[in-house]
Symmetry: C2
Subunit: 178 residues, 2 copies
């Protein structure tokens, strides 16, 4: 699939998934796109746990009864970061940015292969959910799940949210000037 078509097609998907497993080969291709993403000072901070064992998938899915894509996910990718990230440049760490770039690469890969997903972040930060999932996946105490991507084949039409126009967010040479 052409790169720009993938970018246009990608959007969050919170609806039902078909009851069809995601092949391991496809999961590896998705996560390889995450591995290939850039990272500050090439520190490659983000790690990935790919969840496709049905018992584990159900255990995680049932934590989010409000989101159909979470409920019916055929697989998950959990993005793992350090609880105490190392400062790698002048006192700064970049793992949040690294992780977001890896997530975006994976969301595009998911789209390119005919799957769908939604970027789960804030929800993990509440009610100890990241810790619960971290325990299910055997994370060491020093690590936590920052982002979770449910994956499956979309079973419904699900519209992209409305987006502002280019002219409302981008300008040449001067902020806010047409």
């Amino acid at each position: 699939m052409n790169f720009f078509d993938v970018v246009k097609k990608r959007h969050c998907y919170r609806a039902a998934f078909k009851d069809v497993p995601v092949a391991r080969e496809d999961l590896c291709k998705i996560v390889q796109a995450g591995v290939d993403a850039p990272s500050g000072k090439n520190a490659q901070t983000t790690e990935f746990v790919i969840v496709d064992e049905p018992t584990l998938v159900r255990q995680i899915a049932k934590l989010h009864p409000a989101n159909k894509a979470m409920q019916q996910a055929q697989a998950f990718v959990a993005c793992v970061l350090d609880k105490n990230p190392e400062a790698i440049y002048e006192g700064f760490a970049f793992q949040v940015e690294d992780c977001a770039a890896a997530v975006e690469n994976m969301l595009l890969a998911i789209t390119a292969m005919g799957y769908a997903s939604v970027w789960i972040d804030g929800w993990l930060r509440l009610e100890g959910r990241a810790a619960t999932i971290g325990q299910i996946l055997g994370l060491p105490d020093t690590k936590y799940v920052r982002i979770l991507l449910p994956i499956g084949i979309p079973a419904e039409e699900y519209k992209s949210p409305a987006k502002k126009l280019f002219e409302q967010r981008a300008w040449f040479n001067r902020y806010g000037k047409a």
Copy 2:
């Protein structure tokens, strides 16, 4: 260009650029990929100033004598965020993640079109550089330049940094287990 080829080809580029301007049409296509990126709660927090006016380009370029790509950039995209981001979900803001996803989309678009770039972040945070560039671009006091992307046609071979293997960063169902 095929999506997965773009992901594989993208890498940071800190070397010389050809003395050939980047067409406005191409700059718009690159930044449209940034506009199309996901954002937490669809808040679309990241704004973009595209710099292609030669005087402004030179003014920014001369701030970074150590980086050839910055020095010889034909254009820049400055990603702009709020200094005091609004909390949009349970007290959390996601603009850093939003911006990183937009940057990754743009880096892939840059690659897909035969240009090259490098993700400039930490450097901006030192010695008031973000503020200096913000002033050049007429940013309001409430906004700042978070990321800067120098853009041009690569004039040299520049190797991708070495990357860890998939097996060193990704596992199925259990963290760290082959």
